[in-house]
């Protein structure tokens, strides 16, 4: 009977999801690869004859954007039968001058680490931490405010008076695999915020780069955060 109850409830849940305004797709997002959503994915075997072309593309990408792109070619690249390549998907967007980088992102909904740092330095954006509140209290990007995905409505009600809808908001969560910032960015847009961008690389990359953070668990040592 336990199995029957669970099955019936599960079927009901699937049908309810169709009617639910906050419904989600039952097909995971990364199962459907669209050009706009592509990120560095699992290793793929290249089509014969494309290995050299790929190598050149990768070289170009690493030169253009050395900080962001991880090592993309495994040592086995020399062996043509065992080539496994992960193509970086930002190769069409070469890194340029600081001004150009900032100009590029105007129509974009995301910012990368460099752009985020430039916005941070220029105090041109309000950083929004989409991670859980207790994580924010421990450590967060210096000056960021907390609007966590799971408590958004509650926190937003408390803070909305202080938020200027015309300002630029940069929402971040843990890393590229975290989607909390997607929700918070959408919630903000639904609430009339016109200029909301997602800092895709998120907290992990910010910390790894040694950029300014603050919080209860941040020790300050000679002006440098630990």
């Amino acid at each position: 009977m336990s199995v029957v109850i669970c099955f019936a409830a599960g079927v009901f849940g699937v049908f309810f999801n169709i009617l639910n305004p906050g419904r989600i797709s039952l097909v995971p997002e990364n199962a459907v690869i669209t050009p706009g959503k592509m990120r560095a994915g699992p290793a793929q075997k290249p089509v014969p004859g494309t290995a050299q072309k790929n190598k050149e593309k990768i070289k170009t990408a690493v030169v253009l954007n050395p900080k962001i792109l991880p090592p993309v070619v495994k040592p086995a690249l020399k062996n043509k039968t065992e080539v496994r390549v992960v193509l970086p998907l930002v190769i069409e967007k070469p890194a340029a001058t600081k001004e150009a980088v900032l100009a590029v992102k105007v129509d974009d909904r995301t910012v990368n680490l460099e752009q985020a740092k430039l916005l941070f330095d220029g105090k041109k954006a309000v950083f929004v931490d989409a991670r859980p509140e207790y994580t924010y209290i421990d450590k967060h990007i210096k000056g960021a405010i907390s609007l966590s995905a799971s408590r958004f409505n509650f926190q937003y009600e408390q803070k909305k008076e202080d938020l200027n809808k015309e300002e630029l908001y940069v929402v971040y969560c843990s890393s590229v695999t975290c989607h909390l910032s997607d929700f918070v960015a959408d919630y903000l847009r639904e609430n009339g915020f016109k200029n909301v961008k997602k800092f895709t690389a998120g907290w992990d990359s910010w910390v790894a780069a040694g950029f300014p953070v603050e919080g209860l668990k941040v020790k300050v040592n000679g002006g440098k955060n630990e």
Partner: protein
């Protein structure tokens, strides 16, 4: 001891308590499956392909389990479901704590309540398992509304 747990009033109190707990735990997840799926993803225990399905079905399983046990319908079966669910949660949280992961519990998010996984969440789930044991052994497993 057997007489104590077989007491109708105690069983009724346990059913009402566990039913309320499961219903309260499910409500927010039912209406915000997207956020719940993010929490499930943070546990890093389920394959990506299963996460959307689990996030839309699990809250309803919790809801119906809570509803049925309050109505005293198939209470023993529902108690078994609750024990299995709570055991699963305990295992999941324990594994994540052992891995050093710190993230939301995803247990009760109603009224903006939010808590991280911790020893206390494990202790609470263990307590819920213990509360379900008398229902599993002494409650009715029939389709009837009235308390035994």
């Amino acid at each position: 001891m057997n007489k104590l747990f077989a007491n109708k009033k105690i069983l009724l109190a346990l059913r009402l308590l566990m039913g309320s707990v499961f219903i309260l735990a499910s409500i927010d997840k039912i209406f915000n499956p997207a956020v719940f799926s993010s929490v499930l993803r943070e546990y890093k225990l389920l394959p990506e392909i299963l996460i959307p399905l689990v996030s839309v079905t699990l809250p309803w399983m919790e809801f119906f389990a809570g509803l049925l046990i309050i109505l005293n319908i198939f209470s023993q079966s529902v108690a078994l479901i609750m024990i299995l669910f709570n055991t699963g949660y305990i295992l999941g949280i324990t594994i994540n704590l052992a891995w050093g992961l710190a993230h939301e519990c995803g247990c009760f998010t109603l009224f903006g309540w939010n808590e991280p996984i911790s020893g206390s969440t494990i202790a609470r789930d263990l307590f819920f398992v213990l509360l379900c044991v008398p229902i599993l052994f002494y409650a009715s497993n029939e389709f009837k509304y009235k308390s035994k």
